[in-house]
Symmetry: C2
Subunit: 253 residues, 2 copies
């Protein structure tokens, strides 16, 4: 049985303002909670069913994370994901250090999301970054919160392994180090990705499917590319486009 204060605290963490105020986010579902514990990310507490706590007793002991028993009903009530009812964890939001373009590596590819509004897409893109070994994803402030329960869930644990930062993109683009290799963006008038031998270095910026890149971000691009279409679909969703672009960047590496 969780206390009223705990139920309230967990429910509040469904909202971004409360996550920012508490510097905490929730991780829902047994599989994600286990991945969180195994990632070494700072975890405040786990709430789990008796079965979950028994089954993961060794992991909880090893990580030293305090656990509290809860009923499935309680977990469903405070969470957003009706089917994931065996555990919820509260983890610390990664510290928001001052961040600028100067922090971007010259010898690796970084992803940036400008105005990607769907949390499922944001989580999926973080999962793709993790698959291809992209170390960091920078989200614009108008991108769906990567630490929302839906984005965390869609990332399938990858958000615990990829560095995810929220930052102002035009500011970041204005402070890139000298010698920064390239700022890539998708653009219908850009080069055909299949005709290029892409090196996975620089920054790849993805925008919203319906509106493309905001003008102040598009202005910072130094290279434009597009995925050629053979059929009749009007567009690809941003997660699909990211999958295809990343595969093209890493196919020879």
């Amino acid at each position: 049985m969780l206390t009223k204060a705990t139920l309230r605290f967990l429910t509040d963490l469904q909202q971004r303002k409360h996550r920012l105020a508490a510097e905490r986010f929730v991780v829902e579902g047994a599989k994600s909670v286990i991945e969180l514990l195994e990632s070494g990310l700072r975890t405040e507490r786990v709430y789990g069913t008796r079965a979950f706590l028994v089954e993961n007793d060794w992991l909880l002991r090893r990580t030293g994370v305090p656990a509290e028993e809860a009923t499935s009903e309680e977990l469903v009530r405070v969470g957003s994901l009706v089917t994931n009812d065996a555990a919820i964890a509260v983890a610390e939001l990664p510290a928001v250090a001052a961040f600028s373009g100067a922090h971007l590596p010259l010898d690796a590819l970084t992803l940036a999301l400008a105005d990607v509004r769907d949390p499922g897409n944001v989580g999926t893109i973080i999962r793709l970054a993790d698959w291809y070994g992209v170390a960091a994803v920078v989200c614009s402030p108008t991108t769906a919160d990567p630490f929302s329960p839906k984005a965390v869930s869609a990332s399938m644990g990858s958000i615990f392994r990829v560095s995810v930062v929220v930052a102002d993109l035009p500011e970041m683009l204005a402070t890139l180090p000298s010698g920064f290799p390239a700022v890539w963006g998708a653009d219908l008038s850009g080069a055909d990705v299949h005709s290029l031998a892409l090196e996975p270095v620089g920054l790849l910026v993805l925008g919203s499917e319906s509106h493309g890149l905001p003008p102040d971000v598009a202005a910072g691009l130094t290279a434009r590319l597009h995925i050629p279409r053979r059929g009749r679909a009007e567009s690809l969703n941003v997660a699909m486009a990211t999958a295809i672009l990343l595969d093209n960047f890493y196919r020879s590496h």
Copy 2:
């Protein structure tokens, strides 16, 4: 104002058994309804707000599809997509002709989905097929219904342009024409897609993310391939994997 019978009919079409019995499916949302009308698919009737009917009067006249005025509240009540409230259409399910492997073309790539349970993924894969010019997607009976409102919506109109068939996959594999080029499937022990010069001919079978291909389908593969992983994500979701594989099949074509 819709009649009670209409409200009931539309609500029923949310369920597969009613869609099969009525040989009809619903298309929700103004954008999708317009794409349906423009596709030339047989449409029984459109229910739209006054604003939608006025704005699309020319299209409705040209296609000769009868339209009925409905309130936003009514459309939300009978539909599954709360934000798409300007129109709903009822369209005819494509005729289910006898279908076997003998119908697959030798000179083009066809997609097959074995046990893909999420309707959003099914719709997204149909959209990808449409982007790359894949003419047909064959769904196993245990795959999420491609004509469910969620799949139709995720396809963003592509389900009106791609042939989508539900068929027993092992049976289809057993009746492929002689000289059929290849039955491709994703398999961790398969060849690296980046090392192959793939021809977009034959059949590409995608399975469920968590369970892979069912044994009776896997047994019919003649070629196995995998997408190399550089990072740490455990897997890709099936729609992402489809995007990447299709891009590899069509990159030189």
